[in-house]
Amino acid sequence: MSDKKNDVLLHDHNHDGVNRRGFLKCMAWAGTGAFCVMKGGVLNSYSLSRVAEIGAKESAGELSFVQISDSHMGFNKAANPDVAATLQAAVNKVNALSAAPEFILHTGDISHLSKPEEFDNVEQILKSTRPKDVFYVPGEHDVLNDDGKQFLERYGKGNNGGGWYSFDRKGVHFVGLVNVLNLKAGGLGTLGAAQLDWLEKDVKHLKHSTPIVVFAHIPLWSVYPEWGWGTEDSAQALGYFKKFGSVTVLNGHIHQTMQKVEGNVTFHTACSTAFPQPAPGKADSPGPMKVPAEQLKNVLGITDVNYVQGQHALAVVDSNLA
């Protein structure tokens, strides 16, 4: 698992003064619960057990939230015959975090086949999390059959037409984007002109010191276009964030964690709570990857994100469900 993480990080090389060996070493720990914080280009790492200490010292104005993704409620094949149980394990993990998250971001593929009972099931399971607010963006599995009408009815009432939206918490600006509608043959994820227009206006008047968190299902950077792991018009969207000091992009879709830092933007993808998928190019296709049953929880996970007012970047920590 740590080898896989090392391979992945070899792809992103940016000259921002971060000691690459240290970064890779830290990322290798991330699967077992390390806490990596970038402050002004310098990477600090702490073991998860010390997070509570750090949090207590700088508790003023702290914001903590969790990202979960790809619950695929309704999936029941060999890679995981009981996705409800692993989603519950993710909920238990969330509830065990020492710094109680304020809310949950679900970055899509909530359901597997867009069935109402699948959405109901997920909502029911998430009711037992300590955070009472859950914010959703759809995955391609959530908008089947009806171009997303059902999804919009459920989660997008009053949201700007296509279901995109933004909100603010403790001085951090959150933007939920939809890049799984109107997909074209041979194409990648797409945001579309209307959404890009809305996004430009949405962030235009924010102070450049406002930390931004963008969340969407399909990665907003080119992880592996051959498998559709990218968004065609994300460059335009990211252009609107150029002047902001801290931008964190949280995505799902690829069912494995990957991280890339490019200037002021940290990109991060989350594990699924349902089943893993192979690393880019390591299999014929990006389908569900079977692992021995006893190892399943090692390759599923949640992501804990902490923002401390005054700090430059958000701290993003992945932990598995084992």
Binding site: L183, A185, G186
Partner: protein, 120 residues
């Protein structure tokens, strides 16, 4: 008596003739049915195989999803010539192509999956 026998035999022969003729008609009907052949496309491993399928006009093509992930079969033309519902594992979708032409399609969930049916 002989005349009656002759008539009876004649009737039998005619009946026999009809019996012989009937199966022939059924065979013709069967042959005509075979002409509108069913053709298969298998969906597996995030791909359609064969990717390009050539069939005569009037063929019914059936897509079967053998993958462990759902897929769809959607014509890329506007307006769409055909559009399946979501196909889970082992579900099928059929469409009869009556007009010659090239019909490109894709999976609307995984748009990198593309294929085409060439109707001659």
């Amino acid at each position: 008596m002989r005349r009656r026998v002759l008539v009876a035999v004649g009737a039998l022969v005619m009946a026999g003739g009809i019996f012989i003729a009937a199966p022939k008609n059924r065979r013709f009907a069967a042959l005509a049915q075979e002409k509108s052949v069913a053709s298969e496309v298998k969906i597996d491993n995030f791909s359609f195989s064969p990717t390009a399928l050539t069939v005569p006009a009037g063929t019914t093509v059936t897509w079967t999803n053998r993958d462990d992930i759902p897929h769809t079969v959607v014509s890329t033309e506007d307006p769409r010539v055909f559009k399946s519902k979501v196909l889970d594992t082992d579900e099928k979708f059929s469409f009869t192509f009556s007009k010659p032409g090239t019909y490109p399609y894709f999976c609307s969930i995984h748009p990198k999956m593309t294929g085409k049916v060439i109707v001659q």
